[in-house]
């Protein structure tokens, strides 16, 4: 894992969560702006997956990488699934779903950092 990329993802995820939360509190449904932010998040996550696999192939990272690989791939699903599930709801709970999804991404990145560095496993 690269610290820069992980930090960037956490920051974007938290900003996206805050943005969606504001939308939900204002009682508005999801819009194109949310999809753009989620797209940025997804691109960063794909970049992280690529970097992660390259580093694993280079024998860096945790000794048993199964859990890490699981996170690396599972986290890719979250923004896409959140967008789809949120778009179905044309009320404030659409962006509400995005708050949950983005916070989940941030938590998963923190957890991946722990697994990568071997702390708190």
């Amino acid at each position: 894992m690269t610290t820069v990329l992980a930090t960037a993802i956490i920051v974007v995820a938290l900003l996206a969560a805050a943005h969606a939360l504001v939308t939900a509190l204002r009682d508005r449904p999801m819009g194109v702006d949310h999809l753009v932010v989620l797209g940025v998040l997804e691109v960063l996550l794909v970049a992280q997956a690529v970097v992660g696999f390259v580093k694993l192939a280079d024998d860096q990272g945790p000794r048993s990488p199964a859990t890490f690989v699981g996170y690396l791939l599972a986290v890719l699903l979250i923004p896409a699934a959140g967008a789809g599930w949120g778009l179905l709801e044309r009320s404030r709970y659409g962006p509400g779903v995005l708050v949950v999804a983005c916070l989940a991404v941030a938590v998963m990145i923190v957890r991946m950092n722990q697994i990568w560095s071997g702390t708190g496993v």
Partner: protein, 174 residues
């Protein structure tokens, strides 16, 4: 949406109306099926936990099942319950409602029993599961989630939405 040929009109109307009711209550925002309005958040959280528990169980069973067969089997059971609850809550309708109640109840019992056992007899649980220590590894969300789920199910049932609305309405979708 593919419809099987020669399906009975009643069954078809039921399925169609359920999808229609879901779409309609989506715009209304509250009440109705269990997977719309605030329920959509619940389903989202459940989905995250289904993914988390499922991935964890998969890794545990795939790489080191013999280390702690009991804990890992429980992990897989927890994952299955989360998946079932997610799908049942998302779909809505009468059968799904019952499934969701059952899944949330099993989940509540599971987190209480496994949580207690993991503290009392920690030797049997050398590795964490989602339900260990009442879900403390996951911010105690596994303990809160089934309670919220059951309360939400009770509320949708009371508002007359979730369980019955789909069956009475004419086919709007499908």
């Amino acid at each position: 949406m593919s419809e099987p040929e020669g399906v009975r009109p009643g069954a078809r109307a039921g399925a169609g109306a359920r999808a229609g009711a879901e779409a309609r209550t989506g715009t209304a925002g509250t009440g109705g099926a269990t997977g719309t309005g605030p329920g959509r958040l619940l389903v989202a959280v459940y989905a995250v936990f289904a993914l988390a528990a499922g991935a964890r169980a998969g890794v545990q069973i795939g790489t080191k099942f013999s280390d702690a067969p009991l804990a890992y089997t429980l992990s897989a059971l927890a994952a299955a319950v989360y998946v079932l609850a997610t799908v049942a809550l998302a779909r809505g309708g009468r059968t799904s409602f019952r499934l969701a109640v059952a899944a949330c109840s099993v989940e509540l019992a599971g987190v209480l029993v496994v949580g207690t056992l993991s503290l009392v007899d920690s030797a049997a649980f050398p590795d964490e599961t989602v339900w260990s220590g009442y879900g403390r590894g996951y911010g105690f969300v596994p303990l809160v989630l089934p309670v919220v789920g059951l309360l939400w199910l009770r509320r949708t049932a009371r508002s007359g939405g979730g369980t019955l609305a789909g069956d009475g309405r004419p086919a709007g979708g499908g």
